[in-house]
């Protein structure tokens, strides 16, 4: 599975970066979402995936080997939530920008001054 994950990471990064270089604001936001997926998968993969038990203790406080590493999971959990904050903000920002500028084209929004 590692190899597949590596390929998926590369693909997600490619798609994310490509979308971020578009002129359409919506595409840039989609690129942002893809990039955060890519980064999460990267952390998950290089933190070593383990087919087995989640990092739970039983009621005696013991653990079943093999279990997955909890640290990358904690990092990713934080990243997912923060990523959502950024995405939500970007989406609403886009809404406002579209209402104000009347366009989805970032090149049209380049100038800060009103004509």
């Amino acid at each position: 599975m590692n190899l597949l994950l590596v390929i998926i990471i590369g693909l997600l990064y490619t798609a994310g970066l490509y979308m971020m270089m578009r002129r359409s604001f919506v595409k840039v936001i989609i690129g942002l979402i893809l990039l955060s997926h890519a980064a999460n998968m990267l952390i998950f993969t290089v933190g070593r995936i383990t087919k087995g038990n989640p990092a739970f203790l039983n009621k005696d406080g013991a653990i079943f080997e093999p279990f997955s590493d909890p640290l990358p999971q904690a990092l990713i959990l934080t990243a997912i939530v923060i990523g959502f904050g950024v995405q939500a903000f970007a989406i609403v920002l886009f809404k406002r920008a579209y209402q104000t500028a009347g366009t989805d084209d970032l090149d049209e929004m380049k100038k800060t001054d009103e004509d």
Binding site: G10, I30, L34, F44, T50, P70, A74, I80, L106
Partner: protein, 767 residues
Amino acid sequence: MLFAALSGFIFVLLIPIINKYAKNSVGWIASIFPLALTVYFISFYTNVIDKGNSILESTSWVPSLGINLSFYLDGLSLTFSLIITVVGFVVFLYAGSYMKNYDSLGKFYIYIILFMSSMIGLVLSDNIITMFVFWELTSITSYLLIGFNHEKETARNSALQALLITGGGGLALLAGLIILSGISGSMSISSLASMNDILTEHRLYAPAALLILIGAFTKSAQFPFHFWLPNAMEAPTPVSAYLHSATMVKAGIYLIARMNPSLGGTELWNYTIMFVGAVTMLFTAVLSFKQTDLKKLLAYSTLSVLGTLTMLIGIGSDLAIKAFMIYLIAHALYKATLFLTAGMIDHSTGTRNIEELQGLRKVMPITAAIAILASLSKMGIIPLIGFVGKETVYAATIEYTNFGFLFITLAIAANIFVVYITMTVGFKPFFGKFRKTPKTPHELPFRMWFGPMLLAFGGLTLGIFSSFIIGKLINNTELGIITAKLNIPVKLWHGFTLELMLSFITVLLGILLFWKRNQLLKYVDNISFIDEITPSYHYQKLFNGTLKLAKLQSRILQNGFLRYYIMVIIISTIILGGTTLFSLGEMDYTGIIEMPGFEEIIIAIVMMTATYMTVRAKTRLAAIVAVGVIGYSIALIYIMYGAPDLAMTQFAIETLTVILFVLVIYRLPGYLPFSSTARRIRDFIIAGAGGLLMSLISIIILSNPLSSELKNYFAKNSYAIAKGKNIVNVILVDFRALDTMGEITVLAVAAIGVFALLKLRKGADEK
């Protein structure tokens, strides 16, 4: 001494209050401060001058780094401190009257008190880092004071120029000082003095010495950095008198003198100082010839004197050190006075142009008397202190015969111009027939002439009693410039010596030069290439070039198109990351190749298809649905590899994002293709290279063994310490709780932002 050095930083807090309730007397009140410090420093007379002790006081500041607030008082620092406080008193008093029409007089006193305290701190500091901090503070306050009339463009430019040059030199100085403390393991200047052998024989001696000298040369406006000083004449005249003749510009010379025992005695040190000083002395004196502005003329003569002082330390004989001390004191007394009288003339007549000024002696008799007294000292006429100074400078250069008669010739040539400047500044405005000036001239109030008069008479008194006062200072104290004590008596009258004859010739030739000025100027005017060989021309070219480069790179890198910013980031990451990857060499990648299971292959295929769909989708809705599919697939991967918490979060967040997205964009028209195919291909190649890099990085990480101490630590302690059985949750809320708190803050900020954006109505701020 700690209090003396830092009291100004406290006193300055009172200035806004004084300025508010007693605006007209802020000058009077502020001048009490330097007066009190003068008394304080004079109280060391018995201990430092009579008994010849030196005093070291130390308070720890950052002990872990060896940085202490230690202050050291010996003959050299006491002399400098007294120059700073006495001239400070005169200038403070004078400025209250001279600048009474300025609205921002309070601000002026804040700056200049800060400067004075920094300058005292600089000359008293024994710790090199503390000294450097004060050194930089003087550069900053000098910047603020030169640009005091900031509505003038020339003032702003001159201030920036002075800051860039002295600040750049300050960086060199810091590097030099760090090397020095690295070699010696000590940060105390007084203890460095006993390590001359260790320092000068070290292989890093040359860079350290040269860096420190660059710092000193920029600060003291030595060739080729001299040009900032005449430009600094944009400052109000009290500032020019105080910072740019009596005190700050001497900081560099102070530093050279202070470092002389620890770094001196080598050919590199002495010859560099000697020749830089000599070149400055003559070159700047000659440059003065074309000037017509009173203050610029004085600035060039200050430069010439600074060069002479530097040269004297370079010569380094006992006689030269003696000449250095006398000339230092003499110059502070007469030059500050002349600057102040130039300011009085300017204030009274409305012009500083020397061509327009003559015959003022009847309207301004007091000013005339003060200016002439100071001028006599400057020209080296007996019995003023300037006479003793110049005689000893000549004696020291005559005695030094390493380069034949080179230095005495240079010194005489420079001094002829100094006499010329003095005639122009000190005599010409007062004699001859009166000419109409922009303002009707009048005599000035007590507050303006009292201080300069004090200094001018100081020059006379010190001249007549030079053998007692200065003789004792030079021979009895630990001077700190050389390790041994001097033993050369100071006399006003040496009899009919060679120096006296040379002095006489100097004055005669200087007067002749003044007499024939107009004829000579005709020849000089034809020489225009001089402007192109001066360092200031190259400074300007460099400065403009830097600005152009900055504009060019902003135009390329900060062009306002988001995609180019991203492109620059991706490409630089690829180049930097790629070169690092290549330098790793061959690696074993076999560990990561294993046969994936059926369900894994299915998920991978779904994800790849969804990614392709996202990029190629024709409508926004399709793209968002495809993104949702990717997100859910990732959640499945999390489930398969023992991360149920992640899977739950991913599901919830993905759903929310998709809903939010759909709500916002549902009513928008379809995608419009903005980019050409060629651009898309280019972007795809760049993005593909970025993706490939990330894949390679993950392969490399995966093929190296991972030893996660933390995994077992958390498993062992999650229940034992934090009483939680879901380890991921325990990490979030307990082990790394502060991170989670930060995360919540980010979310809160984002939520406020979203709320504000939604509430914002178009045109709301226009009402």
